[in-house]
Each structure stands twice: as structure tokens, then as C-alpha cells.
Symmetry: C2
Subunit: 317 residues, 2 copies
Amino acid sequence: MPRILRVAAAQMGPTQRKDSRPQTLARMIALLEQAAAQGAKLVVFPELAFTTFFPRWLLEGAELDTYFETELPGPATQPLFDRARELGVGFYVGYAEKTPEGKHFNSAVTVGPDGAILQKYRKVHLPGSVEPRPNARFQQLEKRYFEYGDLGFPAFYGPEGWGAPVLGMLVCNDRRWPEAWRVYGLQGLEMLLVGYNSAAYDPNGGETEDAGLRTFHSQLSAQSNAYMNAAWAVAVAKAGDEDGSGLIGGSCIVDPNGRIVAEAKTLADEVILADCDLDLCAQGKEKMFNFAQHRRPEMYGLITSRTGAEKPARKVG
Amino acid sequence: MPRILRVAAAQMGPTQRKDSRPQTLARMIALLEQAAAQGAKLVVFPELAFTTFFPRWLLEGAELDTYFETELPGPATQPLFDRARELGVGFYVGYAEKTPEGKHFNSAVTVGPDGAILQKYRKVHLPGSVEPRPNARFQQLEKRYFEYGDLGFPAFYGPEGWGAPVLGMLVCNDRRWPEAWRVYGLQGLEMLLVGYNSAAYDPNGGETEDAGLRTFHSQLSAQSNAYMNAAWAVAVAKAGDEDGSGLIGGSCIVDPNGRIVAEAKTLADEVILADCDLDLCAQGKEKMFNFAQHRRPEMYGLITSRTGAEKPARKVG
């Protein structure tokens, strides 16, 4: 029996700092309903989807707390879970997690059609810095607000109704790190879900990468790592201008050949869909990327034994 | 002082089984001279550049031996080394190596402008099989004819006259394996040289990937891994129809943003050039791909501890 999963990427336009939680959640429910009306069984939302991308500001205390979920679902997010269960669709959503012990993570969950959380993931590759940059209008303080994810890269099965795919989750910057994809690939990954908030330009005016190049980088990362692990990928942006800081769009659904099969055209709330034939992963996994036949881990030692780059010694003579 | 290295990709058209060694070497010298006349300091030739891609046949004994170099330079290859030294250009070339101990490798060397070998590399990711496929017109017997490379991924410096770049070499299928690039990236890679012979279609008529998709895969691998390691890449094909078996072209020079800056247009002997600003690698290495700041090797254990893919355990319930 063919395993076709109709998946939706629910790209979100910008969310401003002043936007209320119910206002943003209503947009997400509208996207969910659009996707469900078109037959999607799994809807992928962005990273930190319930709020603006708050690590761009130096925040403290009570205001900072408002961006974190102490439970999921909780009072502010329950309506999304309820509506999804009514519609019989599952979803991936990124959120800021605060644990009962007071730890903070940049997390994502995948929720099944019955409303139950199938798996949680905590972002491993935190960009940015701990200390704010002096005199900068906008910061990137993920290393300040979050701890490094401590759950590894845990592949998991989607439900039978989705074709029981082997799924994996990443969050934003993780998608640029082939190590993360490969750890999933080594677990038989068939579809990778990733939400992101990626700057469209240096909001402090400092450098030369424009939005076109940054969107290219984002898609190149998803396309190549999908290909090199023979898996589908669904990469979903929060896009547009958030309080004067721009975010790229370019949400896309990528097949196991690395080809984009659906792509967002706007920087706004937008649903794109694709019918993903999970059995398309088999050719790559059995031939070109048959890991058991072709990988040579005894040659990869530096990947786990060294963190930073170290240049070779110069030859004398 | 800016470090600009003018590099050439010397794509080669097909070499037939009946073509003589001097005939093929003359083509290579002509390509070298074209590149040198345009100011190239480093010329990159394909994998197994001195002969046809012989692993497509089941061969034995004396004929098989004719495809291997027992010394490099040797009598059949010395004129290329001599002409390069006269012109003051260096080169990368792929060749079949037979050691004094009788071991066989699919190797490459990079030669400096003085004619001395700067570094040797032996292909790690051998595709194909040991045993021939029954009743197939064409084989892929690299696992039969070669041993797995035993030199690791040894980064090395080019000479001062090239800007002293940190160089790395791969051979063909290696370029699809992000582990190989990352081991070089962890040594401060600034330019990766790789030659290839990649099938344009299944010569036995068995499958669906056409030449366009295969060329896309080849370029996607070079582009993404160059970007994710903030390095230049020079990927060079032997292309066209060799005795009824087609090879893709698509030779390209890729910048550290993953953009193709020069690309071959034919399936024939063709030189393409680019001025590669080695300092363009710095932005990626200092920011997005600052490995010391952002990599999390404690999460990558499966990459070295597991060879083949293993699916996760199914949850009960």
C-alpha cells in the first residue's frame, strides 16, 4: 500500500511584540483549518510560533517569562490542541519551554491527530551570544535565554494513519548542521520537520548578506541534507518585519532527491502543501546512501573528538 | 594582502577504452596550457583522469594492470608533470594507484608549481560492489578493484604563491558524504578539490534518475558542503559517452556561500576559471559556522558509533 502523507507548511507572517497571545493563536488556528480543509494530516508551524522572536531584545524578569510555556498544552495554547484534535490533524510547533525545575529550552513538539504529544525536541545548535552586543539595536540572545538541548536527536514514528513514517525534528539553526541530520539519518529518517526564524539582513546594518542569499542558504541546507539522508523535509518560516527586524520566508517542502516540491511565495501567513510519498526514500537508502554499505565511521573521528576548527601544522622546508 | 587564487577546472570529455595513454595525456596537457594561458595557478583534473572509467568492466590480469600507476610521475605521466612545472602551475589529478606492496587505491594528488607532490589522498567512499552484477552490460566494481582509502582526510597547505590556502581533496562519491567535508572543515578547510566520473543514467536501463537530476545532485553536494564548511570547492567531471556508458558533466567552482561562480557548459574537454578570494571563507568561519562556538559534538556520537541506519524501536500502545 502506498504511503502518501499530505503535509502542510504553515508559514507565519510577522508577530509584533505588542500582539496579544490570543491574536496570534487565532492566526495559527486559521492556518490549521486551511491546511485541514485541503486534506493535510500534518501541519508544520515555525520555531517560537506563539510569540514574536523575543531573543532579539535584552529582557528580564516578568516580561521575559511571558514568552515561555510552563506547560504544553497550557491555557494559552489549549485551543490549538483542541481544534487540531477536532479536525483529526497533527502538528509540529516550536515554543519556548520552561521546565518545572526552571530550565529553559528552545523546543518543539510533534502532536498526533489524537492531540497527544508524540515527541519533544530541544534545540541543540543555539546561535547568538550570552552577552548583549553593546549599542546594538537588535540582539541575538539565544545562548542567554536557553540551555543547549539535552534530548539528542530522537527519531520517532508517526501514527499508522500517516504511513508510520520515521520522523525527526530540528529547530531553526540546527538545519544548517549536517551532523544533526545525519544522526537522524542513522535512525532511518523519512521526514524531517523544522521551523525557523532567520534574519533577512543584519538588523544593525553591519554586513552584506541580503535576504535573497539568506533564503538560498536556508533552502540549500534543507535540500542537501534531505538528499544526503534520503528523506523528505518540511522547513517553515516565521517571516516578514517584526518590529523593524526582518525575517526571511522561503518555507518549503523538499523531496528525498533534494528538490523543492512546494514553496511559499509571500512573507505572510501562507499554507503550502505536498503529497509526500514516503516510499520515495527507499531508492536513496538502498543505493547511493546505503549507509551500512558505504559509510566509513573509522575515518570520521574528528567529528566527535574535536569541537572547533584547528589548522594543520605547516610543513617546514 | 588579498589572497586571490585563480583556479581552473579542467573538465575532460570521454576517454574510450581504445584510446592510447599518450593521446589522453596530450588532451590533459592541452587543457593545462589553456588554463595556464588564462592565468590559472592551480588546475583541477577529474578522477581517474589518465584512462577511461575502467570499473565499469569486469577485468583481470594484464589488462587491469594497464589502468594503474605504479609510480607517479611515471613514464606515461611524466610529460604532464614536466609541462606543469615549466608553466609554473600546480594541479590536482585523480589516478588508479598500485603500491609497491600491491595494494590498489582510487587516489588523487595535488602537485605544486615546482612539480613536487604536496599531498596524496585515497578515496574513502567507494561505491559499487565487489561481485559483478549478473547479465549486466556495465558494472560498477570499485569495491572490487580498490581498497578503502587509508590516509583519512588530510588537509594541507598550498604554497605561498597561492595564498597558502588550507586545501583538501576528495574523489568522486566522497563529495556526497558530509562527514568527509566536515573532517576537512574541522581542519580549517579553505578550498576543496574533487574530481569525478558519475553516471548520467543507469547504463543497464534500470531506473529513473535522468542526467539532469544527477547533475543537480552533484552540484547540490558541492554547493551545500562548501557553504556548511565556509570553503571554496572545485568539482570536476569526466563527462560524456564512454563506450556506450554516459557520464554527467556539470563541473563547477563554488564559493563559500554555496553559489556556483563558474560552470562547464559542455560534456567535452573544457576549461572554466574563477578568481577565488580565500578570505571570503572568513565570514562563515567566524559567524554562522564558528565551530568552536556552535558545534555540540557530545550530541553527534551516533556518527562514529554506528555505520548503517537502524530504525527506532516502535512505541507500544
